[in-house]
């Protein structure tokens, strides 16, 4: 066991995957000698050389597009996009090609690639550096979408993503990169890409969240416990495919659901979860489903960023509304 930050866990998983499988390559902007702008790929160039650690020209769409060609040819490319805000340029490649090649060719050509990008705000970054685009990708059939919220889960889920036979978009919460350290065993054990993590059990209300918002959700649950409200906190780290059963099961027990995400509300992934619960657990609901999300605004510049970010207070208020509903 070693205490690792989330970004170190990503780095450790990359090293593990590259040691285990010669077909794993990493590519992206500044990932070689620089080790990535967040140091997620630090040391890889020295360990595996410039044939497996490829500094690319500055061209996001083609980083995804070249990864597709490599993946079809049997490599397992792990592409880094420097910030999720620049991954929008990759959507054409991921949507029109990576996600479809298997179906279009009836399984003849496949695309086992990972597109990694730091995502989310709260780090006082310049504009376009704080985006939460998960719903842009979860809407695409054929992709898997993952957003871990702890070092251990980042390690296990990234290994799964690299070993998966299909394309995976792996969004890493920038705010958590160095926020916490956790014991991570570099044992090569991966984690399923279709199961939620129940981080705290509770009988009164279900709080689902993912990425950096897990911290706020857990903090809210702690404060609620002091009021004798027991919240169950579910980390939907594997957004697509969605583990509906875990969420429906929890809401079946608690009767109350609060969904928390940093992305804007409208058509955010919370809407999908709300719809599934409305469809599959409506008779269990004791109160309307609450969403605590970013606003339907652009991600503001750093000086007003805090006003945008969902916080513990908003979650507490939402939970109290569900508890008070009669």
């Amino acid at each position: 066991m070693t205490e690792l930050s989330l970004v170190q866990a990503v780095n450790t998983a990359l090293k593990r995957a590259m040691s285990e499988d010669m077909h794993v390559l990493v590519l992206g902007e500044d990932i070689g000698i620089e080790g990535g702008v967040f140091r997620a790929t630090e040391g890889l160039l020295q360990l595996y050389g410039d044939q497996r650690v490829l500094d690319t020209p500055l061209a996001e769409a083609s980083i995804a597009g070249v990864s597709i060609g490599l993946a079809v040819q049997g490599f397992r490319p792990v592409a880094e996009i420097q910030f999720a805000g620049f991954a929008y340029a990759c959507i054409d490649q991921m949507l029109n090609h990576a996600s479809r090649l298997r179906a279009r060719t009836r399984g003849r050509l496949t695309c086992p690639m990972v597109l990694r990008a730091p995502a989310g705000g709260g780090i006082k970054a310049p504009e376009h550096h704080s985006e939460s685009p998960e719903a842009m990708f979860t809407h695409i059939p054929g992709l898997k979408v993952v957003m871990p919220s702890s070092p251990a889960r980042a390690y296990g889920l990234l290994l799964s993503a690299i070993r998966d036979p299909d394309p995976v978009v792996f969004l890493e919460p920038t705010r958590l990169y160095r926020a916490v350290r956790e014991d991570v065993s570099d044992d090569g054990a991966d984690m399923p890409l279709d199961q939620c993590f129940t981080l705290r059990s509770g009988r009164d209300v279900t709080i689902v969240a993912w990425g950096a918002m897990i911290n706020e959700a857990l903090e809210a649950a702690d404060q609620l416990a002091a009021e004798n409200i027991e919240a169950e906190v579910i980390d939907v780290a594997t957004l697509k495919p969605l583990d509906s059963a875990a969420i429906l099961g929890s809401v079946g027990r608690t009767g109350r659901l609060v969904i928390v995400h940093e992305a804007p509300m409208t058509c955010g992934y919370g809407a999908e979860i709300a719809a599934r619960v409305a469809g599959g657990a409506i008779t269990s609901l004791l109160a309307p489903i609450e969403r605590v999300t970013g606003y339907d605004t652009m991600m503001p510049y750093p000086r007003t960023e805090a006003h945008y970010m969902p916080g513990v207070g908003g979650i507490l208020a939402a939970v109290r509304r569900t508890m008070a509903f009669t």
Partner: protein
Amino acid sequence: MAPLRIRAILIIQKGLAMADAKIDISLTGVLDADGKVVGVMPEFAREPAELLRLYRALVLTRTFDTKAIALQRTGRLGTYASSLGQEAISVGVAAAMQPSDVFVPSFREHGAQLWRGVTLKELFLYWGGDERGNDFAGPREDFPNCVPVGSHVPHAVGVALAFRLRGEKRAAVCVFGDGATSKGDVAEALNMAGVWKAPAVFVINNNAWAISVPREKQSAAATLAQKAIAAGIPGEQVDGNDVIAVRAVTERALARARQGLGPTLIEAVTYRLCDHTTSDDASRYRDDAEVSRHWPAEPVVRLRNYLTHSDLWDKDKEEALLQECGRAVEQAADDYLTTPPQPPSAIFDHIYAEAPAELVEQREAAIAQAQGGE
């Protein structure tokens, strides 16, 4: 188009770091529009059997094309992109390739696909709206057609990079249109291929029209081949209606790629004698007179004239070839038309290696609905 050699040299002086950049775009042609030899005959073209193989491929491609349009017009095929007038690019490029190379096409390269072993039936299935047409029994590693224009060019770079990293003497060959050269994907891909010396050959099918937008409104560049210069790779033009010339320049480019000398951009200059697709009506934006002016340069008659001049061809052989190609195409069309569509469950197949729970549920519902249930 008369074969000619254009040589424009431009000296660009860059302030402190003095550098001379030459724009030097050659145009290769072997046969003129009448089939007379006006260029250097490449080695393969001294072999009559090779020339006859190329001619048969041109005729088969055109026979397929005619049948595909007829099927579309009678409601038995989907929207179809004809290759009329552009067959020499398809056939010449594919004939230069080795079977172990990988072809990454746009959507008008039926001739290349046929040469590489994609079957006529698979082509009909694809254009008839059936994914099984992309499950090529022959060239298993070739990419299917790419409809979002130019977005496949980075894939060819990835494939070529894979070959280079494994130390294989293989190359990726990518064809795209004149319109595609305006896209960022293409600029990015050429640039990356140049940096990585990727064993790739990029071929522009410059057929003068991107649906309704003519070549001169597509780019202010004098040639499209010169886009290679910005990527630091060789670029050249070839008479795209001359199958011998197309094959010769592609072979040269492939040889460079296999020697580790990196990618090449080839602009094959041709003319789209057809509508963009069967959904298009080119008379809305293009004079018939312009089309008529280009017919005399078309590729099939050109090679036939050469073969006839060389005493390799006559009317009887022509008749026999047309019948042979006609029979093959008719048989494939029948095979396609009598192939039942895939079952409703097929739309859920191959979305993932293993279907997640939500997709399994949707699949069951779709099957039930197709069976008249609820």
